[in-house]
């Protein structure tokens, strides 16, 4: 009888899974993976001939697989036993830190470098400053898996931005373990505050210390890098934000009086609460500012947590996210007499974003 165990075991497992697959209701969304799942594709002549049907059907079988979450967890266990210190393009560092894995320079980086240089020439460097935030793997190297290869962003910045009006956001004297998230690629509120300090000090203004802001915290934040990696035992972060008083925040023909989208704070992706996400063009209006000035911020999501600090220095902040903005930045600068133009984004976004060239449209 013994010799039948493998065959009977495996075939009954297969049959059981097939039957459960047929019986279980289709799931549309996976909270575990934070994404929509593929459902059964509709059968049509066209979809079959174009091979779309077979492709989607295969995804459907995988996505709706019986107990999918448990299988994924099982794999994560095995990977842990194999001593893997990376998972799905994320480095699993020491002390619960997860890092984006970037091992080579993206082709887009050279293109974007040119776009920036062209832009600087076009606006004649007028009051423009550029701040690129390095990824957490650069600022918290001691927590990276030992000897893990990475693309050296600092090296690139040193070699390529000599003639740019750069604001150096990195301060080697600081301990970055509280300035970046363990489970998200962004900086923490404190990290954003450091960036804010560096920026306004470069402009010759006095920054307001972190303690003077009324920050609010929410426990158990598991962000983007956690969603991507498959790990068993994360160390959750504390998510903090400030919600300063403003006169108006105008975007997409809407107007609110808060820079924070309260509803997002209870979702998985809490960081998207800042500035109500990545909006193509938005405007922050504040009235009580000592020295009124008008500023344009060209940015990615990293800037979303910095802008709430900036409202004490500017009465009007125009915010452009090139990914979702189709107007002309050059026109915008021409029409508005900005006191400052700030390009603020993460290095990793800057090196991969295909919309940077929109600057020169």
């Amino acid at each position: 009888m013994k010799k039948y165990i493998a065959t009977i075991g495996v075939s009954s497992l297969i049959m059981m899974i097939v039957i459960m697959d047929l019986l279980m209701p289709v799931k549309v969304y996976s909270a575990f993976e934070n994404r929509y799942l593929t459902t059964r594709p509709p059968l049509s002549f066209f979809s079959v001939v174009s091979n779309k049907y077979s492709l989607t059907y295969e995804e459907y079988v995988n996505d709706q697989f019986f107990k999918r979450d448990s299988w994924i967890t099982l794999k994560a266990w095995v990977e842990m036993m194999l001593q893997k210190s990376e998972s799905n393009g994320v480095y699993i560092g020491y002390d619960g830190f997860l890092f984006e894995k970037v091992i080579h320079q993206d082709e887009q980086l050279a293109i974007n470098k040119q776009a920036i240089e062209e832009f600087l020439e076009k606006v004649n460097n007028q009051n423009v400053s550029i701040a690129l935030s390095m990824s957490s793997y650069m600022t918290l190297k001691q927590n990276m898996p030992k000897h893990a290869p990475y693309f050296d962003q600092n090296q690139w910045l040193n070699d390529n931005t000599k003639n740019w009006p750069m604001i150096d956001l990195y301060d080697p004297t600081l301990d970055y373990s509280s300035l970046v998230y363990r489970n998200d690629h962004h900086w923490t509120l404190e990290g954003a505050h450091v960036a804010y300090q560096k920026i306004v000090e470069q402009w010759g203004e006095k920054s307001i210390p972190f303690e003077d802001f009324n920050s609010i915290s929410i426990n158990h934040f598991l962000g983007s890098t956690f969603n991507k990696a498959r790990i068993i035992n994360p160390t959750p972060d504390v998510f903090s934000y400030i919600d300063p008083a403003i006169d108006a925040y105008v975007f997409d023909n809407k107007q609110t009086d808060s820079l924070i989208n309260q509803s997002m704070l209870h979702q998985k992706d809490k960081y998207a609460a800042f500035m109500h996400g990545n909006i193509g063009f938005s405007k922050v209006i504040v009235s009580q500012v000592e020295k009124p000035s008008k500023i344009l911020v060209i940015k990615d999501s990293y800037a979303n947590s910095v802008i709430p600090f900036l409202i004490n220095h500017h009465d009007e902040i125009d915010v452009v996210d090139l990914r979702n903005y189709n107007g002309s930045v050059l026109e915008l600068i021409k029409e508005n007499n900005y006191d400052q133009v700030l390009v603020l984004m993460s290095f990793s976004q800057f090196s991969t974003d295909k919309s940077i060239s929109k600057l020169n449209h």
């Binding site: 493998a6 297969i14 077979s54 299988w71």
Partner: protein, 455 residues
């Protein structure tokens, strides 16, 4: 469709086995034919017509040869039509763009490359059908009068897309009368599972290392060699895994396919390697190219030429690119050197011969794996002039265990242990556990490449 997918294991296989179970014996081949065509059409519907054309052409030609047996001129024409059709298809789909780009380079012309994707497994089944017609022509076998049986042979799904290359005469008897018995089902299931583990647990996990090494801008010498070890293990477990899955499925269905890999990495010379690696391809070239060219019967110089032709073709068969030709010729060179004077020495020194083998097989894999000649030269430079770096320590840590497993499994040690304790609870349960882990890797498959898209 590929074997290492949930679609195959949890949809295709249960349905096909159920259909076979419900179908009376005399219609089993029809079920096999239809399900094989479905298997083939999945992913690329149009190519089902190529398959059907293949079946019809070779069926008609082989039966015509049979019919006009005593008119040599006519039989020769039918044979040529069949060969022309098979090679023509292979040439059109696989090699057109290679020749177009060469013509463009030579004559500065601007011929547009043709827009086709290579039909899955075309290199395998065109060789199978050719062997069939040639065998009929040589009167080694009788042409199959039943087009359904013949069709089932041509596109039998277990060996359709990645071999082994099965000659008609090996399974002609089983095609007509085969017995499905529990011993075969048990043995076949285990062989299939071993193949699945090879592909999903070993090849995929080890292969990620080589993939990553290729994307690095600068690598150290140790990483380069480590990457090649990973590639060598990946392609072995991937390829032999497919063959094992095919052999196992065949066995469950009542067919005995030939062994395709026999622990090639324990070889002590290249000649030994090629008697253990992709054995059905080597046998094919020997029977249908080398021997017809005269083999070793026409003197040394002619034998050398014959070997040169065979190894050129073997290289070119693996892909339409210069590096594959180079790879074939590389083996021609090594095999010639071995034949002329090295064999005696290698036979006497077992440690040196292993070092020799491992060194040259790894260099060979570099030529095989990197299809851009400039990149290949750069890579070889890194291999032989010491480049510092510490990233290899990271790779050792991340891939050390799995590489060690790969090395152990590429020797017969595990097989000996399994045979020793065959039918024990522990071994039986290990198969089940291995299956469960494989399914976990298939459900969350971030890396599951199909390496034979250009074969």
């Amino acid at each position: 469709m590929v074997f290492s997918s949930n679609l195959f294991i949890f949809r295709f296989i249960p349905v096909v086995f159920l259909l076979l179970f419900l179908t009376p014996k005399k219609h089993q081949n029809l079920v096999l034919l239809i399900s094989s065509l479905f298997f083939y059409a999945w992913g690329e519907v149009r190519y089902i017509f190529i398959m059907i054309a293949s079946i019809i052409v070779d069926y008609t030609m082989s039966n015509s040869i049979e019919k006009y047996r005593n008119q040599p001129k006519k039989t020769k024409i039918f044979l040529y039509i069949s060969i022309f059709f098979n090679l023509g298809m292979l040439f059109f789909f696989k090699y057109s763009n290679f020749f177009i780009s060469n013509i463009n380079m030579l004559f500065q012309s601007n011929i547009q490359p043709i827009q086709v994707t290579l039909p899955l497994g075309i290199s395998f089944y065109t060789f199978q059908t050719m062997s069939y017609t040639i065998d009929v022509y040589r009167n080694k076998i009788k042409a199959d009068k039943n087009i359904i049986d013949f069709g089932a042979y041509v596109c039998l799904f277990p060996q359709l897309i990645a071999g082994p290359i099965i000659k008609y005469r090996t399974i002609s008897h089983q095609l007509k009368h085969r017995m499905i018995n529990s011993d075969n089902v048990i043995a076949g299931t285990k062989i299939f599972l071993l193949g699945l583990f090879s592909k999903v647990l070993l090849a995929n996990n080890i292969g990620m290392l080589w993939d990553e090494v290729q994307t690095l801008t600068t690598i150290s010498t140790i990483t380069a060699w480590l990457g090649l070890v990973a590639f060598g293990l990946q392609i072995y477990f991937d390829f032999s895994g497919y063959s094992l899955m095919a052999i196992g499925l065949g066995k469950i269905l009542g067919f005995d396919f030939e062994q395709n890999f026999n622990f090639p990495y324990i070889s002590k010379s290249m000649s030994e390697f090629w008697s253990r690696w992709h054995m059905t391809l080597g046998a094919w070239f020997k029977e249908y190219v080398y021997i017809p060219l005269g083999g070793n019967r026409k003197g040394k110089p002619r034998q050398m030429l014959n070997l040169l032709i065979v190894w050129f073709l073997t290289g070119f068969w693996h892909g339409a690119n210069y590096n594959f030709i180079l790879w074939g010729l590389y083996f021609f060179l090594l095999l010639t050197v071995e034949k002329l004077f090295l064999n005696g020495f290698l036979n006497k020194h077992s440690i040196i011969s292993r070092v020799y083998f491992v060194f040259f097989i790894l260099v060979g894999w570099a030529i095989f794996a990197i299809d851009d000649i400039t990149q290949l030269t750069n890579f070889i430079q890194v291999m032989f002039s010491y480049q510092q770096g510490s990233e290899w320590m990271y790779y050792f840590r991340n891939y050390g265990i799995i590489l060690l497993c790969g090395l152990i499994f590429s020797t017969p040690i595990i097989k000996k242990i399994v045979n020793r304790f065959e039918h024990s609870y522990a071994i039986e349960l290990l198969y089940v556990v291995g299956f469960i882990v494989s399914v976990a890797y298939l459900v969350d498959s971030t890396y599951n490449p199909f390496l034979y898209f250009r074969f």
